[in-house]
Amino acid sequence: MISLLDCFFYSISSMLVASSLAVILVRHPVRAALFLVLSFVMAAMLWMLLEAEFLSLVLIFVYVGAIMTLFLFVIMMLPAEESLSWKKWRGFPFALLLFALLLSLLFYMLKHSLLLGASASPADTTSTYTNTQAIGHILYTQYALPFEMIGILLLVAMVAAIMLTFRGRRVDAKGQCINKQVRASKQDQLKLVNIPSEGEKG
C-alpha cells in the first residue's frame, strides 16, 4: 500500500536524481547551474517531508539564494562556449561500471543491514516544538565548541580566498582615502573664481 507520503517521496527524489544528472550532462553551463538550483529545491523538499523545515529553508536561502546566484554571475561572466563540454572522455565506460558497482553495493548494504533503532524521528512532535529552536539550543549548548570552530574555519576560508585572489594593489586602482577625506578643508577643495558677468561687461 503506497501512502501519499510515499508518492511525494518518490516523485521528489526521482526529480532530484534527474536534475542532478542533468547538471553534469547538460552542455550549457548556465542551464547546468539552473538544474543545480532545481536539485537544491528538490532536496529542500525532501527535508520538508522529514519535518526538518529549518534545514530545508536554510538550504534554499543559503544555497539557492546566495551561493547559486553568485555562481550564475560568475558563469555568465566567463566565455562559456565549449568550456564545460566533457567531449569524449575515454574513461566513461569505466566510470559507468564503477557507478553501477557502487549503486549495487549501496543497495546491497541497505538491504542487508538492520537499523539499530537509533534513527527514530524526534520524540517531541507537538505543535509547540520547532526544530529551529531545537537546533539553536543544541548549537549553543552542547555543540558550542564545534560551532565556534566552524566560525574559525570560515575565517580561514575567507583568508585563504583573499590570499589566493589578491594579486597586490594595482597602481591605478581607485580607492578611498579617509584621512584625506576628513582632512579636506574648504581651501583645498573649493576655488573661488571671479568670473565677470555678462552684465558687467556690457
Partner: protein, 481 residues
C-alpha cells in the same frame, strides 16, 4: 583547558592583522614561533596541572585531555616550530612569507591541535577541515607558479572527495548507532562487535578511506607526489611532517579510540593498504628524478610501515607506530632541512642530480643528509633502523612472519633510492648549473643561516643519538597508550 588552542588562535589573528602593515617575514615567523613556544609551555603546564589534580581526561564528551592528546599536541607543536624555523629564509626568498602565510600556518596548527584532542566526530571533522583548508591554501601560496596552483586544485578536489567519504562513513555509523561522541560510541560498538551490521562495516571502510587519504596511503596516494612537487618547499615540509602527525592523530582517535572493537573489520583492510603502500612507495620512488617526488613516495612507503604496526591493534603496536612516526618525521625533517638550506638564488634544488658533489662543497650538510637518508632507509645505528626493527619484531611476535619478510624485502628495494642520493652527494662530481656560467654550482647555500643550520644539525644529531639510545623514547611511547 583550551589555553594552547587559544594562544595559537590569538597569535594567528595578531599575525593576520600585523601582517597587513608588516612585511618582514622574519619578524612574522619569529612571532609565530614565539607563540608556538608559549603553546608548548601551556600544553605542558596544563598536562601537569590536570595530572596533579587528577582531572577528568574527557570534557563533556567532546574533548580528550589524555596522554595521547598531550603527546600528539606536543609533537605537533615542536615539529611546527622546527618547520617554521627552517623555512624562514626560504619563505622570505620566495616572497611568500606574508602575514596570511603565517596566519594560515597557525590556523593549520590550531586544526591539528583540535584533531589531537577530538572526542567527538563533529570536533574531529571540523578540526580536520580546518587544517586541511589552511594547507590547501598554503600549497597555492606561490600563486604565480602554475604548478603550485595545479597542485593546490588537485589536493583540494581529491581532499574534498576524501572528506566526503569520511563524512559519509561517520553518517553511516551515526545512522546505525545514533552516537557521535567517541566514548559512548566505543561502548556501543563493543557490545555489537560480534553481530555488527553491514551499515557499520561500510561506515568503517569509508572512514578508513578518508584517513588513508590524509595519511597518503596507497591506493589513495595519487595526490601525494604531485602536491609534494608542486608546493613550495616549506609547505611541502609542512605536509610531510606536521600534517602527517595530525593524520596519525586522527588515525589513533578513530581506530583506537572508536573503532578498536571492530578490529576484525578494518585490520585486514589496513594490512592490504599497508603492503600496497610499501610496494608502491618503494618501487615507484626508484623511477623518480625529482627530489621532492622521491620524498613523496618515500613517505608513502613509510606510512605503509606505520600501518603495518597499526593493523596489529594492540597497545604496544600503537606505541611502536608512534615511535615509527617520530622516526619518520625526524628523518624527513632532517632531509628537507638540508635542501631548504641549499636553495640558491639562481637554482632551486629540484632534481636529485642537482645535489651532485654536495660533499665537496658542504661536507657537513652532506653528512646530515647522509644521516637522514640512512635513517629513512633503516641503516643500523640510526633511529630509522630501530623503528623498523621494532615493527618487524612486533610482527614476528604476532606470528605475522610473512608480512615481516615482505616488508623487509621491500625495504631492500627502498634502500636503492636512498643510497642513490648518497651516491650522488658523495661520489658524483660537481656540475655547473649552466654551461655558460661555470662558476655557479647548484648546491650552494642560500645565505648563512645559523639558526636553521643548528636546527638541521640538531635533527641529524637526534637521528644518531636516538638511534643509539632509543630506550627512553621507546619507553615514553609505550606509556602513551
Amino acid at each position: 583547558m583550551w589555553i594552547p588552542e587559544g594562544i595559537v588562535l590569538l597569535a594567528a589573528i595578531i599575525i593576520l592583522l600585523t601582517g597587513l602593515r608588516l612585511k618582514n617575514a622574519k619578524l612574522l615567523a619569529g612571532l609565530a614561533r614565539f607563540s608556538l613556544l608559549l603553546t608548548m609551555l601551556a600544553t605542558i603546564l596544563i598536562k601537569t596541572y590536570s595530572w596533579k589534580h587528577h582531572l577528568d581526561t574527557l570534557i563533556s564528551e567532546l574533548w580528550f585531555m589524555d596522554h595521547i592528546a598531550f603527546v600528539m599536541k606536543l609533537t605537533i607543536e615542536i615539529t611546527a616550530w622546527f618547520v617554521l624555523g627552517l623555512g624562514v629564509h626560504y619563505t622570505q626568498h620566495e616572497d611568500i612569507g606574508s602575514g596570511e602565510y603565517y596566519a594560515l600556518t597557525l590556523f593549520a596548527v590550531l586544526g591539528m591541535l583540535i584533531v589531537a584532542s577530538a572526542a567527538h566526530f563533529m570536533v574531529l571533522f571540523v578540526g580536520l577541515e580546518l587544517f586541511s583548508l589552511a594547507i590547501y591554501a598554503l600549497v597555492a601560496s606561490q600563486c604565480h607558479i602554475s604548478i603550485g596552483i595545479e597542485a593546490a586544485i588537485k589536493y583540494f578536489v581529491t581532499g574534498a572527495l576524501a572528506s566526503g567519504l569520511l563524512l559519509y562513513g561517520i553518517s553511516l555509523i551515526y545512522g546505525a548507532t545514533g552516537q557521535l561522541a567517541f566514548v559512548p560510541l566505543m561502548q556501543d560498538l563493543g557490545v555489537i562487535a560480534n553481530g555488527h551490521s553491514l551499515l557499520i562495516s561500510f561506515g568503517v571502510i569509508c572512514i578508513l578511506v578518508g584517513v588513508a587519504f590524509k595519511l597518503g596511503v596507497a591506493p589513495f596516494h595519487m595526490w601525494v607526489p604531485d602536491i609534494y612537487e608542486g608546493a613550495p618547499l616549506s609547505v611541502m615540509l609542512w605536509i610531510a611532517t606536521t600534517a602527517k602527525i595530525a593524520a596519525f592523530a586522527i588515525l589513533v582517535r578513530l581506530l583506537w579510540n572508536v573503532l578498536a572493537p571492530l578490529g576484525s573489520i578494518w585490520q585486514p583492510l589496513v594490512q592490504f593498504l599497508a603492503l600496497l603502500s610499501i610496494l608502491v612507495g618503494n618501487t615507484a620512488a626508484i623511477a623518480q628524478s625529482n627530489f621532492q617526488r622521491m620524498l613523496a613516495y618515500s613517505s608513502i612507503a613509510h606510512m605503509g610501515y606505520l600501518l603495518l604496526a597499526v593493523q596489529l591493534n594492540t597497545e604496544s603496536a600503537w606505541s611502536v607506530a608512534l615511535f615509527y612516526m617520530l622516526s619518520y618525521v625526524i628523518g624527513t625533517l632532517t632531509a628537507v632541512a638540508v635542501i631548504l638550506l641549499l636553495q640558491h638564488k639562481h637554482a632551486h634544488i629540484k632534481q636529485i642530480n642537482d645535489l651532485c658533489g654536495l660533499h665537496q662543497r658542504h661536507p657537513w650538510l652532506a653528512f646530515i643528509l647522509l644521516l637522514a637518508m640512512f635513517s629513512l632507509a633503516g641503516v643500523p645505528p640510526l633511529l630509522g633502523f630501530m623503528a623498523k626493527w621494532q615493527i618487524v619484531q612486533m610482527l614476528i611476535e604476532q606470528q605475522q612472519i610473512g608480512y615481516a619478510i615482505t616488508a623487509m624485502l621491500l625495504t631492500i628495494v627502498g634502500a636503492y633510492y636512498y643510497l642513490r642520493i648518497i651516491k650522488v652527494i658523495y661520489f658524483d662530481d660537481l656540475q655547473p648549473l649552466d654551461p655558460a656560467k661555470p662558476n655557479i654550482y647548484p648546491p650552494a647555500l642560500l645565505a648563512v643561516q645559523p639558526t636553521a643550520s643548528i636546527m638541521a644539525a640538531l635533527c641529524g644529531g637526534s637521528l644518531l643519538f636516538l638511534g643509539i639510545f632509543p630506550a627512553q623514547l621507546l619507553q615514553f611511547c609505550l606509556q602513551v597508550f
